[in-house]
Amino acid sequence: MINLAFKDIKHSFTKFIITAISVGILLGIVIIMIGVYRGMIFDAKELVKDIKADLWVVQQDTLGPFAQTSKVHEDLKDRISYQDGVKYAEGITFQNIQMQNSYGAFKVMLVGYDPLGKIKVINPNKIIAGRALKNEHYEIVVSQKTHYKLGEKIKLGRDYYTVVGITKNTVSNGGDYLMFVSLKDAQILQFTYTNERIRSDEARGIKGDNPHLVNAVIAKLKDGYNPKIVAKNIEDATHKTVFTKGEQIKLLLQRVIKKSSKQIGMFTAILIIVSIVIIALIIYTMTLEKIKEISILKLIGISNLKIIKMIMQETLILGILAFISGNIFARLIAGKFPKRVVLELGDAWALFAVIIVASIFASVFGVYKVLKTDPSEAIGG
């Protein structure tokens, strides 16, 4: 038997492959967009997941420290440590700062934590060079993507900090690079003012600054304690708002990146629709190019079914090749994006299903043209 689709593809192989790759690049962009969306969700959860805390205690009636500003006194950690079920409690700060080095300007989230504390804030698996903080002053751990080197001195505020560790894949909920300093250094950077500001405040009757603040107190629970019950007890005892780890992640996803992820989702959906339209147009054009042959086939007695089979097989092969080349393209360029792109196999298969359905849908226009083609068009006169 003769497979018309394979024969036609073989005949115009280069053209077909170039068309498939072109559609594939478009699909690759769709895959990247899905990856960017996944990356946003991944990044939003990453920092909270890395910090080995069960509870987040923040300023009362706020959604801090990520979704809303929160300031609490550092000594709150002592009250929380005495609560039933709490193993450790430590202060933590987060501050967005702008950095500039020879690689350009970039935004960084500076995390301040107690290097002598018991709660791990830096995921040890993500330290690719050097170590975590050990001393209470002038040490800094940086993300690999900041391009700082071990031992390099970085000026922050009035002081210089030595890079003692480099991490990989550590990002803030917004996808910015992370840098870690001791809590004491972070408090100076965030909560102390310049001499001019202090004098100005004193003139207004505001007395001094208070560096003993943190953005949140994080707590690790003893085994067997229900985080929700302990959180409720802490709220009652301290008049603060307390989130469990799960609630904090949910908050990040629902409040912090909801609109951005929706925007990306919308853009992805539009791109998928555009891809379907383009595939449909290509198939329709490919059918139009063969209209003379189709009318001859119909005239000599070849059934519609065989001709439609040819169109649909070509569409499916185009869809499959485009999908494969799109995936290769996406994987080749995913690493070049400044923010995380997460390419998941599940998404790839889902897109494959969409493309197959879309290809069948796209071939409808070609099939319609086949059915409408008058066999007498093959002959002049």
Binding site: M1, I2, H11, K298, I300, I302, N304, G381
Partner: protein, 249 residues
């Protein structure tokens, strides 16, 4: 003569008829724009007859051919193909496509081979579509191509052959499904005089050896002597001229 002889002779005559067209009418358009192209065509062709269809451009040659080929629906009349009534003021055949691929062969002005199929595949297409097995189709196709002098071009693509070779392949394609009728629409239009004569001689040979009825549309009077009958469209009707005496064999 006895009644039995007359009946048997009559049946034989009937069985010998390949195409019978009765009072065939074709009109295009409606109302003020209505144009009658064929108005009451009547003719009969026997098995193995090679007929030329001649008329000026626009007189309805292709229209008549397409009606016989069940491609174009007549306005009224009756068409019989190989003893089967296919049109009697309406289509009586259910699957025109199946009728074409089983009983008819088409040859066009240009070869109109499928460019993405090689010679063997172009010729094999219809027999395979008719459900014939490969072991039957392959040797028949090879035999046909040998018969037409292009047996060594089996694996060539149409783009690799000359115009004359392609037209021979097109004739092989028209014969591949063992049709009882071949409808040829100016098959020599794209060929020079020598090749035109070669093709017409070949068609005549096919008609006689394979008992295939052929209607060939042509503008070339030099080809008429090779035909058994000349059908001429005059005043929208078909005039039939037998040319038993003048036929060149």
């Amino acid at each position: 003569m006895s009644d039995e002889f007359l009946m048997k002779n009559g049946e034989k005559q009937m069985n010998n008829i390949a195409i019978k067209v009765e009072n065939l009418v074709k009109k295009f358009g409606k109302g003020e724009n209505e144009v009658t192209v064929i108005n009451g065509a009547d003719f009969t062709l026997k098995k193995g007859e090679f007929a030329a269809l001649v008329a000026p451009s626009g007189a309805g040659k292709t229209t008549l051919l397409m009606m016989i080929g069940c491609v174009l629906e007549p306005t009224s009349g009756r068409i019989e193909i190989g003893g089967e009534v296919v049109y009697d003021n309406k289509w009586t055949v259910k699957d025109d496509r199946a009728l074409r691929r089983k009983k008819l062969g088409f040859i066009f002005q240009a070869h109109y081979l499928i460019p993405f199929l090689n010679v063997e595949e172009n010729v094999s297409l219809l027999p395979y579509e008719n459900g014939e097995p490969e072991k039957v189709v392959k040797p028949r196709v090879k035999g046909l191509l040998d018969y037409l002098g292009v047996g060594d071009k089996l694996k060539n693509m149409p783009s690799e052959l000359s115009g004359g070779q392609n037209q021979r392949v097109a004739i092989a394609r028209a014969l591949a499904n063992n049709p009882s009728i071949i409808l040829a629409d100016e098959p020599t239009a794209a060929l020079d005089t020598k090749r035109s004569v070669d093709v017409v001689k070949l068609l005549r040979k096919i008609a006689k050896e394979k008992e295939v009825t052929i209607i060939m549309v042509t503008h070339d009077d030099r080809l008429l002597p090779y035909c058994d009958k000349v059908l001429t469209i005059v005043d929208k009707k078909v005039e039939v001229k037998e040319q038993l005496e003048g036929v060149i064999i």
